[in-house]
Amino acid sequence: MHFLHRHRGLVPYLLLAPGLAWLALFFLVPMYYLGYTSLQTGDLFSGYAFSWAWENYSDAFSLYRGHFARSLQYAGLATLFALLISYPLAYWIAFRGGRWKNLLLLLVIAPFFVTYLIRTLAWKTILADQGFVLDVLRTLHLVGEDGRLLATTTAVVAGITYNYLPFMALPLYVSLEQVDRRLVEAAEDLYASGTKAFLRVTLPLSVPGIFAGTLLTFIPAAGDFINAELLGTPRQQMIGNVIQSRFKEVADYPQAAALSFVLIAGLLVAVLAYTRAVGSERATQGTVA
């Protein structure tokens, strides 16, 4: 105790050390080994050796370009749908929730309490060929008699949208909750219509929430493979499917590592471009984690 009394400045570092060491050792260092593995050649039986094998990267682009494109496309669509579905919900809870706010927020995150794989399997039930959703769509002639929902792109995108929706809804709610109601009233006092007040006041003030929500949805969605595997067919496979099967089924570790590296690098570039486009100052103001 005496030692700590004399060196008070050391206390925070001692508090940080064990946790940060764990993160450094099992989050940062592994990234280096991911890069290292991605430049190896070899196979499971003769072993792998580092050989500056850049061809793993050219293969990643030439062989799996379609998977990358599909990941970005599905994740982009799911992010858009999640935004369109959760904005009214978040707005409604923030402005009309009243004393039920906490209960409603609990309902928003309720899906997280059901195991990811089980709730995705539940979508398999809902979209099944004998399921009631398809029945309704057939009755309305929106889907042909032998049309399907399961094993289609629609099913995969719907699954991704569902699974990451709370990631969009929560930051939206936080930013809408912080909107100063007096500003909206002031706009209406100055004869702005309800629509105009929303477009000129509320919507711009909720940009930080939209920004955080789109990132929190898009990034994990782009790496997802569970929805494509359970709700789609091989034609809907995303880059995550390839990475997991290269690692777990084919044991082609270098190729899998290269694909992972391209995915994280691509996402980094996308995030930076997006941050620049939105304007980092505008995007982060008000969202204090």
Binding site: L15, L23, P88, N102, A110, F112, T115, A257
Partner: protein, 284 residues
């Protein structure tokens, strides 16, 4: 519309038209929000309902008839029990360690000034933002390069890793919401820093620590992607479900899923109530 116009003799037709639009918009918003809630909750209802189903074949995807058999023997399927036990063991150990490490970091961030704060925040944030498949494959790359045998230990290491950040965020929120006057008062009354921490700070943030621990436990039980990559041949519950999805989906999966859901909701509600009771009136 005429009624509204009569009530507002000065405003005339356009004003009442605007009112109607506002009213429609009001109800349209409520309808959209309720539809979104139905979308969110429908699969949960399906999971619970199908835990009472008596499926005709190996797959529990179409409703046949009501039964309580699945609930009578929730582990009546080979390997299911072992996977649930493993999940609980990993969740208990990883949430315990992650809560300890995360709470220490949160204390440093909320109560101390030090150099390297920005870098610390970044290191806390990144594991929450990175896609799971990348974290899982990089950990696997590390373990493969050192020929670490995959199994219980590697799963535990991974779970502690991804849980730390969530504990830090949860506990720090509690520390930030609590005023430092009580701690200062204790120090003024000649309590040592250690005594102040044990007698004042710790009891105050206990609900936050518990919430962080519960969150870590829940994340651990639910994790599939990272676990799948670093697990070797060991099977946690989500891995069991993954394997089952290809060959047979027994309704017992829904029973366990329902139990996890109910337990998680109950614990969260209990924790929120506890936090509310401990928050002095008027403080929030």
């Amino acid at each position: 519309m005429t009624v509204a116009a009569e009530r507002l003799p000065l405003s005339g037709r356009s004003r009442s038209g605007a009112r109607l639009v506002a009213r429609i918009r009001h109800h349209a918003l409520t309808a959209a929000a309720l539809a979104a809630l139905v979308f969110l909750l429908l699969p949960i209802a399906v999971v619970i309902a199908f835990s009472f189903n008596d499926p005709a074949g190996r797959f529990n995807f179409t409703w046949e008839r009501f039964t309580l058999d699945n609930w009578a023997n929730p582990f009546g399927f080979p390997d299911l029990q072992g996977s649930v036990v493993l999940s609980l063991e990993i969740a208990a150990l990883s949430s315990l360690v992650a809560t300890a490490l995360g709470t220490l970091i949160a204390l440093a961030l909320a109560r101390h000034r030090f150099r390297g704060r920005a870098a610390t925040n970044l290191l806390i944030f990144l594991p929450m933002a990175a896609p799971e498949i990348v974290m899982g494959s990089s950990l696997l790359a590390l373990f493969l390069n050192y020929s670490v045998p995959l199994g219980f230990t590697t799963i535990l290491i991974a779970h502690i890793m991804f849980n730390i950040s969530f504990v830090v965020v949860t506990v720090r929120a509690r520390l930030a919401g609590q005023d430092m006057h009580l701690e200062e008062a204790a120090m003024d009354l000649f309590a040592s820093p250690w005594a102040t921490f044990l007698r004042v700070t710790l009891p105050l943030i206990a609900p936050g620590i518990l919430a962080g621990g519960l969150l870590a436990f829940a994340l651990s039980v639910d994790d599939f992607v990272i676990t799948y990559l670093v697990s070797g041949s060991d099977q946690t519950f989500p891995l069991f479900v993954w394997g089952a999805a290809r060959v047979a989906v027994p309704p017992q999966i829904n029973v366990i899923g329902t139990i996890i859901f109910v337990a998680a909701v109950a614990l969260m509600v209990a924790n929120v109530l506890w936090q509310l009771r401990r928050t002095p009136k008027g403080a929030q």
